[in-house]
Amino acid sequence: MSEASVIHDIGYQRYTGPRLGRLQVLTAMYVHGLRAAFGFGRSAKAKIFPWMVAGIVLLVAVILAAVRAQAGIVALNYVQFADAMSWLVILFVAIVAPELVSRDMRSGVLPLYFSRPLRAADYVWAKFAALVTGVWLLLGVPQLIMFLGAAFTTKTGMRGVWNEVGDLLPAWAYSVLWAVVFAAIGLLIASLTGKRAFAAGGIVAVFLMTTPVVGVLSILPSTDAQQLSGLASPMTLVAGVGTWLIPASNIGLDLGRFGVVYLIEALALIATCLLLLLARYRKVASL
Amino acid sequence: MQNVSRWYGNVVAVNDITMRLEPGVTGLLGPNGAGKTTVLHMMAGFLNPSKGTVTLDDKPTWRNPEVYRHLGLVNEREAVHGFLTAEEFVVANAKMHKLPDPKAAAARALDLVEMTEAKDRRIGTYSKGMRQRTRVAAALVHNPRVLLLDEPFNGMDPRQRMHMMTLLHSLGERGHTILFSSHILEEVEQVSGTVQVIVAGRLAASGDYREIRRLMTNRPHVFAVQSSDDRRLAVALIAEKSVSGVEIDATGLTVRASDYGSFTRALPRIALGEGIRLRKLLPSDESLESVFSYLLEA
């Protein structure tokens, strides 16, 4: 007795499964962004730049860890390390922010996103979170390696490890600050153009142009001016906040009593960039 | 155009085309990238053929400023200064042609495209159709015998297109030679029956597309037939030599005729002979679209 023959119905099926809410959609967008930042899910070419930068930063961290392990010298502490890597962070942001944001603009994909249950604000938050995470990983993982190097070679046992943890955690927070400030600025600039090269150039230019201003201000005769000079550039701004909040880090900036000003400006800068980003995408979504 | 080819390095844009344009409206047809714009630009004297000759009245169009007196070209994309009014723009063109009375010529051209009322407004305020018509006026201001248009209906809404079609039609009737390119067959069908079909740089066919269809004798003509007794008619038709196939369904008959001439004469005779009333006879594959797709397969 043979089985009856049948033609299976592979026509269009309706979907009756669950539909997830805004949070999951935002998370999906975030994960997508984070993967795109490091070139996953795309061609090999897309992986070169971010991993090259990450590689250099890691290498420096490894060398520092090795030096500390061998010779006991702390060439750079965790916080100073982050500062030292500032230009690499800028390079990373200059490459990744356009990948996250300019690419979508250029390919015209935004209408496909905004015709879905994804608000303009959700889009911005997801991309921002992805870039912040990316930059934080860029700094935080090497810092972790430095920590591990120190922890495994410490001569003072658990107390030594605990000390290191006490140094690492604020440094991680410092890395988060770097990430947030630079991601905000980088995304804002990148969102202004669909051409990745222009965006990258624009980001680097902003940082390049503000640095000399700091230099000029810092040689003015007034001590106030000198102490406030760091406000003019994002890098020194972040360093200033770090100096004020983590005095043990010895970044080497003299802020006088203006530490709190640095913090306020940093927060204002982040808020402004984000608000502008949100406004921009709300406009773009209705275009 | 005589044996014209045009290449860019390894890319052969136009391959050995010989074409003759007569007064009236001709549609230059082909898929995107087939070489239509290249052909138009060579005719307008903007490009030189890599091989062969392009002539107007036996004078070459390349490097021959004289020929611009007889030619007008309306490009597909052209930036028109938004701050000028239509009148200013067309008058400027008239002056460039060194016409004796630029204002009068411009007025005539604008009247031809029905832009007289709006001519004093800035071009920036115009709709797409109006802008297009302004450019046509500018191309017509020196009363050229030949008008070349590249994708003139692009992006126009139905009413604007109809206006443009009527305009081209009337110009053709006045004796101008008009060649317009398009990849939208529906548009071409409505303006002109005469076509030049370009596929991948080669001229696939010229002439009236219905006649072109009849030239395709290796393809049976397909007709839709409705009558008072379809099945009996089907039986009678299949007995006929010129019929290669008959299909019957709820809407009527689909008849394939291997010999167009014999079938079209036989059908009335057969229907009358059987006492069947013929209600509908419609050629199903004579549309420009079918002809075109057959040409593409060649």
């Binding site: 905004f114 015709s115 879905r116 249950p117 | 109006m130 079209t264």
Partner: protein, 306 residues
């Protein structure tokens, strides 16, 4: 009572007080395949954006699936699939990955997104190509990817903006057949924005014609392409002789290019024409009741400001 698909009431949208994209638009759209014609540029994209809740109307109201998109845009967007007119695809990802990603952004869980993406790509006719990068696709393939992403989350309404843009005739046929299938077999309503009236006549069952932001006409296609009471006859030679013969038989004959137009006063007209053609042994090329065309909508009025 079954819910109408889209209902607008005096919908108006002006930009900056000068440009009126939509003006006092009142229309009820029933499920099916609907053509949206005439509105070019501003009007069309404004209408789509308002439906998706991306723009608020200046005045008037709109409801999609009986939901107000200005209040609950997410609910509307979850049930609508949008296929934009212009290039919208990133060149450096594969279709499979891209459509899956968009499925997740529509709220589908990961496995469901993957599966439905795969199915959507199959339904639009993309097979092995789907694993290659989109940058290498032909226009036809890209249009299909855009359609697949509109289908992936199983919408109840598809908004297709110029779906046959840039396609060659074979591609257009395929796309139109696909849209027709979606509208009939899949049970999804489709709004097709097109400037090609022939296409619209072919696959749509109703039509909304907008002009200058205002509603020109909203009707079933069958109403607009009704048969008139005129018969068109075409013979590939001997048109004059036939015209004479028919006139002698007492029929009023009008000439239009190659066609002879004869009023259809009674069925006897068919027989008389056939007899005349057979007597003259002329090749009969066409015999048909003239039908109205959607294009006639745009031919009647005279507007200077077009």
């Amino acid at each position: 009572m079954p819910v109408s698909l889209i209902v607008t009431d005096a919908l108006t949208k002006t930009y900056g007080g000068r440009v009126t994209a939509l003006s006092d638009l009142t229309v009820t759209v029933e499920p099916g395949v609907i053509g949206l014609v005439g509105a070019n540029g501003a009007g069309k994209s404004t209408f789509i954006k308002i439906m998706l809740g991306l723009l608020a109307p200046s005045s008037g109201s709109v409801r999609v699936f009986d939901i107000d998109p200005t209040v609950n845009p997410d609910q509307v967007r979850a049930r609508v699939g949008y296929m934009p007119e212009h290039d919208s695809l990133p060149p450096d990802v594969s279709a499979a990955e891209f459509v899956t990603h968009l499925g997740r952004i529509s709220g589908l869980p990961r496995t469901a997104a993957r599966e439905r993406a795969s199915e959507a790509l199959r339904h639009v006719g993309l097979y092995e190509e789907r694993y290659r990068q989109i940058g290498g696709y032909s226009t036809g393939m890209k249009q299909r990817v855009k359609l697949a992403q509109a289908l992936v989350h199983d919408p109840d309404l598809l908004l297709l903006d110029e779906p046959t843009n840039g396609l060659d005739p074979a591609g257009r046929d395929a796309m139109l057949a696909l849209i027709h299938r979606i509208g009939t077999e899949f049970g999804i309503s489709v709004v097709v924005c097109s400037h090609l009236l022939g296409e619209v006549e072919r696959i749509c069952d109703s039509l909304i014609a907008i002009e200058g932001g205002r509603l020109l006409r909203a009707d079933r296609i069958s109403e607009m392409t009704a048969a008139s009471d005129v018969l068109a006859v075409e013979v590939s030679e001997g048109t004059d002789a036939l015209a004479e013969a028919l006139t002698k038989l007492g029929l009023t004959v009008a000439r239009e290019d190659r066609l002879l137009l004869v009023p259809l006063e009674s069925d006897a007209a068919y027989d008389r024409i056939l007899q005349a053609v057979a007597d003259l042994e002329l090749p009969l090329h066409r015999l048909d009741q003239r039908r109205h065309h959607v294009a006639e909508l745009f031919a009647t009025k005279e507007t200077a400001d077009v």
